[in-house]
């Protein structure tokens, strides 16, 4: 994975001619950090004067002027620029402490007397005006809305610190000191594999490599020797940083609501065999591509989903999906799906197209967001999603084309269906349809298997059954499905006549057993007679239900979830059934 990030970093650096400094400097405009509070200082003939505090909006274009480079969370950053957490803490621990730190490191940083004098003037001013400054800074911060944050920086003689060569030099020097603290000379770099003059173990490009706990440092728990675990040379480190920044900004996609992923390309035989469009995509970013395609097929929640485009490539490249979550200062890998071939993507898109075609009548298209609906929370009252693990497992199985246990998926689909049904939510209808669409997708992809059963009973609903095949190959399943539809017609009749659906109570919160289903048919039939609605069409349905249930015999090979899923499916596709039995648009209730 790291080689991929490095290759991408090199590709970007070569194309955009990014130098060492530009690779190191971070864009402070991230998430809620949208503003800069600037301490303005004037220096004239060796004397410094505090001009005041100003506020401006952060701009991507000014990245090199702000010259921000984060340091350790407890220490200072690498320039006197910091993201404000609490004004006083940030000012003292990040800005003032930076000047002290640089003063302490003046020798290894090789600072001249002139450099030091310049820095001391600024430091002195900041210290002397500490109290007033803090008041001004707090006032400025108070003008921002609560959702917005700011960075704290300094301007000298109306110039940003990025315009002074000294601060750039110190940044590079401090970075080098950081590397040297855990490093060794003349060792092999783990990324490029070459023997290099200097390697460092201080790598924080991805924060799933941290050495903040000695237990993470294998081979002696000694932080100073931790370079042995993950030695990286300067060039590779910079390429990794550039690659990471590019991935973060351009190859970060929304998979489903609440889950993002990084898309990492891996070119098996170099980039010469890959189409220019794809290379451009990976170097210019997704916007260009999405503009070129008016109708983009999507299986994720991202507007700029390019998986359909990648699926047309030959198998000379693979892609990796990296799902990560930030936790405090670390990053956790939720899932890494490596080496997904374009041919595998093609299979996935084929299955999606077949699914969408099958269910064009209900106008529901498959994407992972639909499947996600069933794998968010184990309990709807929970605040945060807790089923990510299961969802990501299914996602991995899909991209790996690995078999998925049918009953596992059905269990979660039915859970959501029951919840909506019992709470009488209007979303019940869509939840059932989403369940059918999701299951159909998995069946079309041959990940969920159904035993083929020979059809013995000729039915007038065979066209409807064909859509739901092979789910409805069992006689019992067909009977349950039709009974669900008949029950829905009864409920519709009750609603029209009385404004409510009292018969819904007979459905036991969709926990119907085989015995319940057998007992339900006469009850539905009886009620329809009472409502004087047991017409020819419904009579035909009832006959067919009886035939299917009788031919299914005893002890159906169906679980409780399956029985109720087919029943709910029947309820929600009752309109399709009604169209068959009332072809001339007769009353369907």
């Amino acid at each position: 994975m790291l080689s991929t990030v490095k290759e991408l970093g090199e590709l970007i650096s070569n194309q955009n001619r990014i130098g060492k400094l530009a690779s190191l400097v971070e864009n402070p405009k991230v998430k809620s950090y949208l503003h800069a509070i600037i301490i303005e200082i004037n220096i004239d003939s060796g004397e410094g004067v505090l001009k005041g505090v100003s506020l401006e909006e952060l701009s991507d274009r000014k990245k090199m002027l702000y010259l921000y480079r984060s340091g350790s969370s407890r220490g200072t950053d690498l320039t006197p620029v910091a993201k404000i957490t609490e004004v006083e803490k940030t000012f003292n621990n990040k800005i003032l402490a930076w000047f002290k730190y640089v003063e302490d490191k003046k020798k290894p940083l090789k600072l001249t007397t002139e450099d030091l004098n310049f820095l001391r003037i600024i430091w002195k001013i900041l210290q002397e005006s500490n109290k007033d400054l803090l008041n001004d800074l707090n006032t400025k911060l108070g003008t921002l809305s609560k959702e917005e944050n700011a960075i704290l920086t300094i301007k000298i003689n109306n110039k940003y610190i990025g315009e002074f060569e000294l601060f750039s030099r110190i940044l590079l020097g401090l970075e080098s000191l950081k590397d040297d603290s855990i490093g060794e000379s003349n060792k092999v770099c783990s990324v490029c594999g070459k023997r290099q003059e200097k390697v460092s173990g201080n790598i924080n490009t991805f924060k799933f490599y941290t050495i903040d706990k000695p237990g993470f440092i294998v081979g002696g728990f000694n932080e100073k020797l931790s370079w042995r675990n993950f030695p990286v040379c300067q060039d590779c480190k910079l390429a990794l940083e550039t690659g990471r920044e590019f991935i973060e900004s351009k190859l970060n996609f929304k998979f489903v609501y609440g889950l993002n992923y990084f898309l990492l390309p891996k070119f098996l035989l170099g980039t010469s065999t890959i189409s220019k469009e794809i290379i451009d995509y990976f170097t210019d970013g997704p916007k260009k591509i999405s503009m070129a395609n008016d109708i983009v097929k999507r299986i994720t929640a991202d507007e700029q989903d390019i998986l359909a485009l990648l699926s047309s490539e030959n198998d000379v490249m693979t892609i990796q999906f990296l799902f990560m979550r930030g936790e405090q200062s670390a990053e956790r890998i939720l899932l890494l799906i490596e080496d997904v071939y374009p041919s595998m993507l093609r299979k996935i898109f084929d299955a999606k197209e077949k699914t969408d075609y099958t269910w064009r009548c209900v106008e529901r298209e498959f994407n992972f967001g639909i499947l996600r609906k069933f794998f968010i929370k184990s309990d709807e009252n929970k605040h945060d999603p807790d089923l990510d693990k299961y969802f990501l497992q299914i996602v991995e199985d899909v991209f790996r084309l690995r078999t998925i246990e049918k009953h596992f998926v059905l269990k979660f689909i039915m859970k959501k269906i029951r919840y909506d049904f019992n709470n009488e939510y209007e979303s019940f209808h869509w939840t059932v349809l989403d369940g059918i669409v999701s299951l159909t997708f998995l069946i079309k992809l041959s990940l969920v298997s159904y035993k083929e059963v020979k059809n013995v009973i000729k039915s007038q609903f065979d066209d409807v059954f064909a859509n739901i095949a092979p789910m409805l190959t069992e006689s019992a399943a067909k009977g349950i499905f039709l009974l669900g539809a008949l029950t829905k017609l009864l409920l519709n009749k009750q609603y029209v006549d009385r404004g409510n659906e009292p018969f819904a109570k007979q459905l036991k919160g969709l926990r119907l057993t085989e015995r319940d289903i057998r007992g339900l048919l006469p009850k539905v039939q009886n009620k329809l007679i009472e409502y004087e609605s047991f017409d020819k069409g419904k009579r035909q349905m009832a006959e067919e239900i009886s035939l299917h249930l009788l031919s299914a015999g005893e002890n159906w090979p169906l679980t409780l979830d399956e029985i109720n899923f087919y029943f709910a499916t029947g309820m929600n596709l009752a309109n399709l059934i009604a169209k068959t039995i009332y072809p001339k648009k007769e009353e369907a209730v």
Binding site: L2, S3, G193, K213
Partner: protein, 241 residues
Amino acid sequence: MKILVFDIWSDFGHFRKYYTTSSPLTFSFPPPPTVAGMLGAIIGSNKESYLRDFSLDNMRLGIQLINPVRKIRLGINLINTKDNYWKPVHKKKHAPRTPIRTEFLHNPAFRIYIHHQDDALFTKLANLVKRHYAHYTLSMGLSELLADFRWVGLYEGQLRPPNLDELVSVIPEKYFKGDNLILETERRYFKERIPVYMTPERIVESYDNVIWEAEGKPLRLGNRTKEQIIVLENGDKICYF
């Protein structure tokens, strides 16, 4: 040359990728220094000497995937050693444990092929494997993941240049010269960068990209390489590190 062939397998395995600590990912098969550790466990080499005893300077090593690679993720609770101390009870911001989501191999099984220049050591190893005797308990990467092993055979092997042969082992990158890997449909090729040569001071001296097939199916290699493969008397052909 004599080649010792034996299988190792377990319910779970974990060979941590060196660039992950707080979210450990696993390699798909044990890299050569890890196999050296396993061999050391069988013959009883200690921590300081196993990398010397089973250095690639004096042995040829081939690794074959027997089961398809299947990775799963499980949460394990590690002792929280942040700030260099451990407290058994929750205090301030310091919890006694830290939950770490770890990637494991499920049902890993590998066939190991070894030829060692030291006859005495090689004979000792072969005898121990044949008797199913290990000095230290064998594990699949972590001490919690106990592994078992099984004698397959001691075969005569010949060195030969590859000639569109079906190779059962994983293939180190040194074997690739241009396009001599024959890409076949119904094969899914995976590439991973692994540490190959580690000194007894635990400094990795070489890393290599290795290619293998996801289900452990054999791969074909053309002959445009100086590297030789080993052909066993039972017909199996392997690449070695």
